[in-house]
Assembly symmetry: C2
Homo-oligomer: 337 residues x 2
């Protein structure tokens, strides 16, 4: 169906509905794909909404947090019975909002459905911004790296980790990554240029593994997983080391977190552990683009996406994040532009 | 015995000997007081040692760490069969070291014995420096406080905590302290000028207690205890809060630390947790004295010491730190000057 004809069309709109709050590991059956028939692709004349066709959806670990009904958190949870949401790229099909016109590409928080009518204007930036800016803010600002320092990245083949490792190499650091399959380990060493990498699932003693890869200790740890890995890393930090924490994927599916037991070592070693969130770095977005785009054009920074086609395959792709099925950034293509 | 006569005297030297490495909660019987007879109070003519009379000894929580044989730590452990050591003030009785002369007052790492012959020159500063500089570096440098912020101090009547609370008030912060007896709570409110204080032993739900004292949340937590208190504080931190960690007294006597389970919240709130040690701030010692001495002279900063007389009472005083027996800085007077 060509764009020009869509405007007057009536379509069936597929949606991924969040069924109910999740305990423990999420399952595909925590979501259900429904179809609303007879959606008119036109905004009513008395409305100020825009109507978009959703093109790409991003699967990100933080989405698991929204599946739990915890009032103490700063992100609101999903509402059972409505579509789940996440970052996405969309195309404006019809608009009664003067800020947007037909054909505009927009990005921002997007419902997991094929078409979406919304009052909320979206950002008009690239969707790759979120993990990229996370890596940029977390590494350069929170970790304050210096040339020659020893850097460890967990979940290193993921959307954020692969960039952190490459930024560390650009800075002249020694960088080792961990991942959950041998293929990912090879990717880290051969595509992303990590100095070394290991499969954490094959290391019965993470403390011993880290001592092997970092006999001098670790200056910077870019933390994506928490749990046993963080406990092992803390024991291997150097004096005045820094740990940047943007996620703790190993803990998202636990009702009772494992706990971290070696915090005493942060006193001995005077270590800083700092949580951060990408939205604190939104003001630096254009500075980040000025930094990264030349490297991407020259092929000096590489980026791997794991692309799944079709909204109906979205639930499986999202669940797969938590068992490490994705290689790189997990994206769902609903409709190629 | 007057100083003048000591030089030619022969004395009995009492010592507090560390018996063996400690597991769990230390006991008085982990130390033993012995007496060496016939110590001549004169340095041999072919030596470069100094001989001191120890006057004051400091009891500090970190000393528990030296009772455990853990090779991974940056402080070496005590040697079984030798006197325990800690900060102390001494007077030079005889010296073959040209840097020191008879009658000098010196401070530094001191053996727990009445007289001590040593090659190691000691610092010649005030013994109140250690906790004072800890409070100063930890609060002003690590916590980076701003006027009007909400500050929570645990172990607040202790040597470090009482100063942190007063520094926070000087800065124009709102400060609440926790302690383990009602008397200490009164001291915090009435002597040290904390805005409020509570007895953590009477709070079955620390999270609820903190929500009551900090309905707006906590900007700065000066951490002295770890364990359940840290877990509760993390849940109550405000966005971009800071936690300075100089000790974790609740964990020193555990072979298996309790663990901290709410670290995910440091991501939601973008909180910084930073370990620090007083020796990183030694270069700022004279700046610290310039800052604190006028306040002490004017009575605007108060300091409470808990003084025990007699070396033989040292083991009980040291053990008492871990059950909160002391009120303020625990000092042992061996010989009033």
């Amino acid at each position: 169906m060509a764009d020009g004809s869509e405007k007057n069309a009536v379509v069936s709109n597929r949606k991924v509905i969040f069924k109910d709050y999740v305990f423990g590991f999420p399952k595909e059956s925590d979501m259900v794909v429904t179809v609303d028939k007879n959606l008119k692709l036109k905004v009513a004349s008395d409305s100020k909404d825009i109507l978009v066709k959703n093109l790409y959806l991003s699967c990100d670990p933080y989405m698991r947090l929204l599946m739990t009904n915890r009032s103490s958190e700063i992100f609101g949870p999903y509402t059972p019975g409505t579509p789940i949401t996440g970052f996405g790229v969309s195309k404006v099909i019809d608009s009664r909002n003067p800020e947007f016109k037909e054909g505009d590409l927009v990005w921002g928080i997007t419902g997991w459905e094929c078409w979406e009518e919304t009052e909320q204007p979206k950002q008009s930036e690239s969707t790759t911004g979120m993990p990229g800016l996370t890596a940029y803010g977390g590494f350069y600002e929170v970790c304050a790296p210096k040339k020659g320092e020893y850097v460890f990245v967990s979940a290193a083949s993921g959307a954020v980790g692969q960039l952190v490792g490459q930024f560390a190499k650009l800075m002249g650091c020694y960088v080792v990554g961990s991942a959950g399959t041998q293929d990912k380990v090879e990717l880290l060493k051969n595509k992303f240029g990590f100095d070394d990498a290991f499969n954490y699932k094959e290391e019965p003693d993470l403390n011993a593994a880290l001592k092997r890869y970092f006999p001098e200790g670790i200056d910077i740890y870019f933390e994506n997983v928490e749990g046993k890995m963080l406990d092992a890393v803390i024991l291997n930090m150097r004096v005045h080391g820094r740990i940047a924490v943007c996620g703790m994927i190993s803990q998202y599916n636990r009702d009772q977190p494992e706990g971290v037991h070696n915090l005493m070592s942060i006193v001995y070693k005077r270590v800083r552990i700092e949580g951060f969130a990408v939205f604190d770095y939104y003001p630096q977005y254009s500075k980040f683009l000025d930094f990264i785009l030349p490297y991407i054009r020259e092929g000096k920074v590489k980026y791997v996406e794991d692309i799944v086609e079709g909204l109906e395959n979205g639930p499986a792709a999202l669940i797969g994040l938590f068992s490490g099925c994705n290689v790189g950034k997990q994206v769902i293509v609903i409709a190629p532009q």
